[in-house]
Symmetry: C2
């Protein structure tokens, strides 16, 4: 039986046309984060299991990681996220590094889950982190940066929104304001995380099932539903909105507005799954009604670096996956047309290949990207090949052309032909960079 040609389930082959789109996405990501001074790092895709046991969400480690034993009997994981890795790297050089530290990476990450729209087993994720800043200047910079990335992809503010919440505020509401028990808090947090996927009546029913009779009797369900329904942080009950963490959100909203960002707003239902967040959390949502989902998220996690036995480092960071981003760009018609980047496809007849190569090599060394068809097919078929590859220019290097040292350059889009010497070709493609 012949071998299967399919890639591993839930993962993607990137043919050159797919890779061009990925390259485009990575280049916008890189350009934007580098304009803020973020420097790129990377790390191995395999990490020891212990790295994830401490702080990654339980569900991810127990059910969704690729974990196995290597030939030396060490338990290893194909990284499901980058945050533990980057924290490990900063901890390893805690004393030598110069803070604030601005780092980014675009790793591929693996999760074992059922592949579905927007969720694959392998995806690439932009990770951006700022280490060493205690003030909310860090959060504000990152949210600005996120908006700039959207803009650089051509997106308008109306196409997405950024939801804000605060781990401290969530704790205050559940523990101090509603006075729920630890067990109830765990159950209720998970429920709130699913709020938008549930009917309201079903949600209230589940709340009733999660709380103790005493908690229900004290009006917790009604109070919580009031909080979850506010449209603005200023509509929160005064006891809640005067809490320090709420005031921090209000301050951040205000500063972002000053910088022209009007779509970053408090959302009491934003929870985020990871255990390590300790301050402000945020997520960007696609406002396309057909794809109304979280596209990226992050927050402050001041405690992670300290787990490696060094003094803690205040940190804010986010992750942004490529799969949901492509869905977003597609839904808003923001995907660019990306053609073949090759300048010239050269054709010749079989016995001339060596001579033609000498000419082409000179053109190449003058900075022209040029390929020679080596198939020995008929000229017409070679031109068809160029057209199939979506290359704009064909250069004909036949007997006559080699004898006269003048070559026919055909624009396949317009069918216009020019007869040019080597020098003229070099000038044409060098001086006018856009051809």
């Amino acid at each position: 039986m012949p071998l299967s040609t399919k890639p591993y389930r839930g993962a993607r082959d990137f043919y050159p046309e797919d890779n061009r789109l990925r390259k485009y996405i990575f280049s916008i990501w890189r350009k934007t984060v580098e304009s803020y001074g973020y420097e790129e790092y990377d790390a191995p895709i395999l990490e020891p299991l212990e790295l994830y046991l401490a702080k990654t969400g339980e569900e991810i480690v127990n059910e969704q990681t690729y974990v196995f034993e290597d030939r030396g009997k060490r338990k290893v994981v194909i990284r499901p996220e980058m945050t533990p890795t980057v924290s490990r790297m900063v901890a390893a050089k805690r004393q030598e590094l110069a803070y604030p530290l601005r780092w980014y990476s675009i790793p591929n990450l693996w999760r074992y889950e059922r592949p579905q729209n927007g969720r694959l087993r392998e995806h690439w994720q932009l990770n951006v982190d700022i280490f060493g800043v205690e003030s909310s200047g860090a959060e504000i910079e990152l949210i600005n940066l996120i908006c700039d990335i959207f803009k650089n992809f051509g997106a308008k503010e109306s196409m997405f929104e950024i939801k804000l919440n605060h781990r401290g505020l969530i704790d205050f509401i559940l523990s101090d304001y509603l006075k729920l028990s630890k067990t109830s808090i765990q159950k209720v947090s998970k429920l709130i995380d699913k709020l938008h996927k549930m009917e309201k009546t079903k949600f209230i029913e589940s709340l009733d099932n999660s709380l103790s009779p005493k908690e229900i009797a004290s009006g917790s369900v009604e109070k919580l539903m009031t909080i979850l329904s506010v449209k603005s942080i200023k509509d929160l009950p005064s006891e809640v909105k005067n809490n320090d963490f709420a005031l921090e959100i209000i301050e951040i909203e205000k500063k972002l507005k000053k910088q022209g960002i009007n779509n970053a707003l408090f959302d009491p239902s934003l929870m985020r799954g990871f255990d390590y967040y300790s301050g402000l959390i945020f997520e960007a949502y696609d406002k396309n009604p057909d794809n109304n989902r979280s596209m990226m998220g992050g927050g402050r996690y001041d405690g992670l670096v300290g787990l490696f036995g060094v003094a803690p480092v205040p940190t804010v960071g986010f992750g942004w996956g490529d799969v949901t981003l492509v869905n977003f760009l597609n839904g808003h018609h923001l995907l660019p047309k990306l053609g073949n980047e090759l300048d010239i496809y050269a054709t010749t007849i079989g016995q001339n290949i060596d001579k033609a190569n000498t000419v082409i090599d000179k053109l190449r060394k003058s900075g022209i990207n040029i390929a020679l068809d080596l198939s020995k097919k008929k000229l017409a078929d070679q031109i068809k090949t160029a057209s199939k590859k979506q290359i704009k220019y064909v250069l004909i290097v036949g007997d006559k052309e080699l004898a006269s040292a003048k070559y026919v350059l055909r624009n396949l889009e317009t069918s216009i032909e020019q007869v040019l010497t080597e020098t003229e070709l070099i000038n044409k493609f060098k001086i006018n960079d856009s051809h």
Copy 2:
């Protein structure tokens, strides 16, 4: 006990300064292969085990792969090489693709082995393949391309050599000329592969132990030693050098010389480990006596695409790892100095952060890459941070500067200061791209 900060054994963390070197290497690779019209592709790091059982060398699959069962009980492998994957991808679209097909990729590959100089468990490898060319034009193009990559790294022809051999010629010598049995051929091939790591007497002794008494009596050892000792293909016994495969090597050597390549020469001891090679094979060696080893290799493998149940496609390709390349560049003093790419590090005092951000945001949107220190440290300490990060320019955005809308730009290399308005700053960094 605190978590370990070490990366997984045999794999590397890339801190920003390490990543800059990797970026440089990838950029030279990309620039050169794209000048020949090669297009980038990629694929998942996990592949089903069956993909490697067919044609990868036995040792690699049995002893050196990372193989495990996923949660769905499928046996999967973290790719140890890219050739089976690219063959799978071409086979999947055998009919749609336009030949000759020129593809490249820079995947990370994993092998479980004892880490040592030049050999790590994870490395990145440039993979370049041309599909659909039966003639040796393909081999000649790739060897040219390899030499151009060396040149673009600043290497001279005296620093490396390219060894050539041919699977057909090896078979002819062992099977037709020496008339060895299949078992002897297998043993002798492995021995020849280790020739340069063995004493000559030890090698002959091992040959004696590998051959049958009849084979020894017919003079096979002497004949083989004669062949292995030739300095030029023209010194081979006439029966061998008139073989068609030897003539092909002679023709390729000749054509390469015409194109100015004098260090690509026949080497009878070149074997290459993979089972799938079917024609010319080649390897580049570092001529540095401290690092005299194979840096990259490849060859023709016409049969691999056909294993997927489609018509075969003639193919020539090579792989070039990053670890041995860095050793090469290091040994020949070809590693460039790569500084921080950030244009400006901006400093301000704490209460001015928001105002300073407004200025910096304008500069950034005009195309300057600029970071603001958010630490609220003293100005002098912020300037030290910039210096530690090896950034050339510091911009001081203090009280006085904000009030006058003129900012102090200090060159940290020369200590020269300029007082500039926003517009002047933009012009300085825009017009003169080299600053």
